[in-house]
């Protein structure tokens, strides 16, 4: 993934269609956009397969799908470098794939297999892929935020030029952990991006009832740091906002609270009966599906041809099908090794 400013293809694109294209889109070159689109499809298809597997009783436990939130996961991480860190949430498949994890090993984890990222110990809510800088999903709402502070301290102490992006939801913004973490990151100017995916609900509580401010990012002022709110279903917009936050973090300008307003099209988890929202609301957001939106814009702006779109989607479909085969055919862990990895050393 390249940083567009330093990229001549982007410059060319900007030259070609200056009148039509908004800056957020023209800032991204074709290769980057194709890769982003592919990742959004990968996430969507990964979760659809996960959902089906769950429905068919092939996996147990629970899962939290981010279908409808793909632009926020992919857009926010688009300008991260491979060695930058992320910390993710219970709704973390998207972040994980966006940061470069292999969907096959993720699905294997979902199936509880020894080939999974956590050797079947963690499951959907705890996937981590240290090789791509993914320090793990988290089952505890706001659990990743204090950890991000430590990662930021670590980056600073080691004089690295890395950045840590920590994801969390609107509901998480009412946890004490949010407050303590934002404050420490701000006073120490840590290289952390606090990425709030505001999908309007906690599990069932409307953010309008859970906090008395309109935007989560409004809270940045309480820490003397930057807050940005962006349309989280608009990939180029998310990428542009994230780029600012990432660059500032990397330059030593401290944290940003970046809020992506988005929506989860599925229920909170398997047990959700959607009692807290209307069908109309869900439908309205379905119309703003981030994948379709990006595709439509790319075609309208002649950045990509319609038949290429199909190829990208099929490529993703194929990868996920293979991933499913891998997951299914992998071996279960050995119960005799239950306590093997409790302690290191």
């Amino acid at each position: 993934m390249q940083i567009p400013a330093a990229d001549s293809a982007t410059a060319a694109a900007v030259r070609e269609k200056p009148a039509l294209q908004r800056g957020e889109l023209s800032a991204l070159d074709d290769a980057t956009l194709r890769a982003a689109l592919r990742r959004m499809h990968l996430i969507r298809k990964f979760e659809e397969v996960a959902e089906q597997s769950y429905m068919r009783g092939l996996v147990h436990g629970t899962m939290h799908l981010s279908i409808g939130q793909e632009a926020s996961a992919v857009g926010s991480t688009l300008h991260l470098r491979p060695d930058d860190y992320i910390l993710s949430t219970h709704r973390g498949h998207g972040h994980c794939i966006a940061k470069g994890a292999d969907p096959a090993r993720m699905l294997a984890e979902f199936f509880g297999k020894e080939t999974g990222y956590c050797r079947g110990r963690g499951g959907s809510m705890h996937i981590a892929d240290l090789t791509t800088g993914n320090l793990g999903a988290n089952g505890i709402v706001a659990g990743g935020l204090p950890i991000a502070v430590g990662v930021g301290m670590s980056i600073k102490a080691q004089k690295q030029s890395r950045v840590c992006m920590v994801f969390f939801g609107d509901g998480a913004a009412n946890e004490g952990a949010f407050h303590e973490s934002l404050n420490m990151a701000a006073i120490w100017k840590l290289p952390v991006v606090f990425l709030c995916e505001n999908n309007k609900y906690g599990m069932s509580m409307d953010i309008a009832n859970a906090m008395a401010v309109a935007n989560v990012a409004d809270r940045a002022s309480a820490y003397g740091t930057r807050g940005i709110t962006v349309d989280g279903n608009d990939l180029p917009a998310v990428a542009a906002a994230a780029k600012i936050a990432i660059d500032q973090a990397r330059q030593g300008d401290g944290p940003t609270l970046l809020e992506c307003k988005t929506y989860r099209l599925r229920g909170h988890s398997k047990s959700d009966r959607n009692l807290y929202r209307t069908k109309d609301e869900i439908e309205a957001w379905r119309q703003r599906d981030p994948i379709r939106r990006l595709q439509d814009e790319l075609v309208a702006q002649q950045r990509i041809e319609a038949r290429e779109l199909a190829a990208i989607e099929q490529g993703a479909q194929h990868e996920i099908e293979e991933a499913l085969e891998f997951a299914k055919s992998s071996a279960d862990p050995d119960p005799a090794q239950l306590t093997r990895d409790v302690y290191a050393g």
Partner: protein, 340 residues
């Protein structure tokens, strides 16, 4: 209580564990305007495990209160409400999240009465769905009740049947002290007879679920069900098992345990929490330092959770906490042991 959840079996009204709790909550709220339920998603969602169900519809949003995700704040809110005349019932969505609320529960709720020289009381109830077996992995499957049994000022309950789930809840709401109720997620759908009226089960009293001469198995919550299943098989082998359902971990009903062990001479303690420092440690120690010590004909046996977090993979998960077969095997082993 919607009609469809009430089924009839052998002429006794059967309710699920979740329904029994809901009925108890409803009756408490009907009888006492000071009682209210609050917590994450207890309202419109009906509770993460469906326990509160239609209570919001019945009692309205001022008495069934959906809250932000703020466990420490919620526990403190329960303390403040209890201190000033209310009878709050707080649901912590998964007991694992009580790790965020320890300060208010342990430093405030448990100690305020004592610190204030007996001049205040904190009559609050905290409901905590706990336990493993749902594939929810390490941060959503813990059994942390033993921690609270270590804290003077608290009472700690672990009901195993729908009957006790309701009766102990109503007793907890009446109690002038902070009471924590660890409910087991796997039990919510189990059914059993539940009287329709508002009755109380005494806090601090164990019950003998099955009588037997040869071996005493002490457990609580879901472990008593697994022990009961194992006891059936042991009976087929000619072994008489006495099963004690603790129900309360603080205070603990030592007299009932002692009486049984005096009779059987053999004690197996089964619990889902991590074996080390789990509730079985205290029970074993109480026996080992008491007169009953001399009545033992074999060493005490404990069967507890593995020394690991709860894993996700289903077979690993099963292997990490005592199952019926483990209880059976442990009981058999104990029957073959003698004091040396």
């Amino acid at each position: 209580m919607p009609a469809e959840v009430i089924t009839q079996e052998a002429g006794v009204r059967q309710l699920s564990y979740a329904e029994a709790i809901r009925e108890g909550l409803g009756q408490a709220m009907e009888a006492d305007p000071r009682v209210f339920l609050f917590g994450e998603d207890v309202g419109v969602y009906g509770g993460a495990f469906g326990v509160s169900g239609d209570l919001l519809r019945r009692f309205g949003p001022e008495r069934v209160i959906d809250t932000p995700i703020s466990e420490l704040g919620l526990a403190g809110a329960a303390v403040g409400a209890a201190l000033t005349g209310m009878r709050p019932v707080l649901e912590i969505q998964f007991s694992d999240f009580v790790t965020l609320a320890m300060e208010q529960i342990v430093n405030q709720a448990a100690k305020i009465r004592f610190m204030f020289g007996g001049k205040a009381s904190v009559p609050m109830v905290v409901r905590l769905p706990g336990g493993s077996g749902t594939g929810a992995a390490a941060q959503h499957s813990q059994s942390l009740e033993a921690w609270f049994a270590h804290v003077p000022g608290l009472k700690v309950l672990q009901p195993s049947t729908p009957h006790d789930a309701k009766g102990l809840l109503l007793a907890a709401i009446d109690d002038p002290n902070p009471v924590l109720i660890f409910e087991h997620k796997l039990l919510y759908k189990t059914k059993g007879p539940v009287p329709a009226e508002a009755y109380r089960e005494p806090i601090g009293k164990a019950v003998v679920r099955r009588s037997g001469r040869d071996i005493t198995i002490v457990g609580a919550s879901i472990m008593t069900l697994r022990a009961a299943a194992a006891a059936e098989k042991l009976a087929g082998e000619g072994i008489g098992t006495e099963i004690i359902d603790l129900r309360s971990l603080r205070p603990i009903d030592f007299a009932t345990i002692a009486q049984s062990v005096r009779k059987t001479g053999r004690l197996l303690i089964v619990y889902e929490g991590v074996k080390t420092m789990g509730i079985g440690a205290e029970i074993a120690a109480m026996i080992a330092e008491s007169d009953v010590f001399g009545a033992l004909v074999a060493p005490i046996a404990r069967l507890g959770g593995a020394d690991s977090p709860i894993p996700y993979n289903p077979s690993l998960e099963k292997a990490s906490v005592p199952q019926e077969d483990d209880i059976l095997a442990a009981a058999r082993r104990l029957m073959h042991k003698r004091k040396r």
